[in-house]
Amino acid sequence: MKPATFEYHRVGTVGEAVERLGELGEDAKLLAGGQSLVPMMNFRLARPPALVDISRVAELRYLTREGDTLRIGALTSHLAIERMDAPELLDGFSFLKEAAHWVGHYPIRTRGTFGGSVAHADPAAEWCLLAVLLDAEIVARGPGGERTIAAADFLLGFLTNALDPDEVLVEVRFPRPASRAALHEYARRRGDFAIVAAAVAVDVEEDTCRSARIVIGGVDDVPVRIGEAEAALAGSRLEAEAIEEAAQAAARAVDPASDIHGSAEYRRHLTAVLVTRALGEARGSEDGARSKNGAG
């Protein structure tokens, strides 16, 4: 189908975008990469009366490291993350480059943006999972200036975020490196939306897991942390039995819905499988890395 009519406004700076959003009212939408918004408009699931196109706002296209923190400009494309090659970016953040490979298809990754994906708040989106997993901070700019929102507070529900209508998501910050973090997911076709996705991060000292984080996407309105599965790993050596225990704990803890893409039971099964794969990769086993090239 074709989208309904709308007014198009192109802006060159964040300041102009905020101003224009204020003038146009709360039904106006920002257009960044458009890879989620335009399909919804083509099917008239979304009919915004006006779009403010920020895709040429150069000040939002950057990837920088400041001490422990990685700062990702909102308009950084998925492809730019996938092509990250500077040692100072990869050190402790290579999980982002690995995960970028799961985001959409190649011609989607060229246009789709990091900030757009987080703002879209799809509960199975890779960047949303990783943001929740690693306590990312979302920076929003509005008429009153900037504020920072924790990822877990930013994702309010299915396709719902905490931005005010005249705020622009300008940056996502990952506060700390995570050298042992990994994301795995399953979709019927490589690059399609994940039916279930699992992101994990483990903190290992002297072969012992000090703490673990496990977040599952595709099983609720937002990515969910699974405390029971995390507890199963703390103090373990990430041996196969501990990983199995965590995987089963995660499968028991999630409460997915059934839909056309899979039954609740199937999603539970996928949860266990994907937690196992992700932990295998995070631990540093080749099994995890291999399975990534297989399914999905």
């Binding site: 074709k2 309904a4 198009y8 458009g34 399909p39 083509n42 298809h105 011609p107 060229t110 246009r111």
Partner: protein
């Protein structure tokens, strides 16, 4: 009241000025306003990839971009591939490997693979498979498309030797049932 914008767009090296309604997708601008009907429109929500074109050097779904966003941009479509001396190397490989049947998806696959081979001239089989998974084909079963991209990459890598020899997915050959005596119990 429709929102109309005047844009400048360069398609296959030829600049044009065109007035477009804001809601007109790049795919429709190419097809209806500029006559580049080689770009096909399938699903209009970014799943099938039939409308893939190269925009400022990168492959994109032209159904997921508004024409007004392509103001001052450079676009390459399937019409730009063949030269005065015929099909380009990738198109030749598609032909030789029977990587098309009805042809509806072919322009999208050609532009996708063109972009892939420019960005990564020596892709692994897995990288080709990953890129080709972006688009849908309802005829070929994909193996001939993979074989065609592989062949084009291999020929570009060593133009003197690559050609008729096999590749990762095997060169397509017509299947001919030849009864073998050993498989005919009792013999005839």
């Amino acid at each position: 009241m429709n929102d109309v914008h005047l844009i400048t767009i360069t398609v296959n090296g030829r600049p044009s000025e065109v007035a477009v309604e804001a809601r007109r997708t790049l795919a429709d601008v190419l097809r209806h306003d500029l006559g580049y009907t080689g770009t096909h429109v399938g699903c209009e929500h970014g799943i099938c990839g039939a409308c893939t074109v190269i925009l400022d050097g990168e492959p994109v779904r032209s159904c997921l971009i508004f024409g007004v966003q392509a103001d001052d941009a450079t676009v390459e479509t399937v019409e730009g591939l063949a030269g005065d001396d015929g099909l380009d190397a990738l198109q030749e490989s598609f032909s030789e490997q029977h990587a098309l049947q009805c042809g509806f998806c072919t322009p999208g696959f050609l532009m996708l693979a063109t972009a892939l081979l420019r960005a990564n001239p020596e892709p692994t089989d897995d990288e080709i498979r990953d890129a080709v998974a972006s688009n849908l084909c309802r005829c070929t079963g994909y193996q001939p498309i993979l074989a065609a991209v592989r062949q084009a990459a291999d020929r570009a890598a060593s133009p003197d030797t690559a050609g008729s020899e096999g590749n990762g997915w095997g060169v397509w050959e017509p299947h001919v049932d030849v009864p073998r005596e050993a498989e005919q119990p009792g013999g005839q």
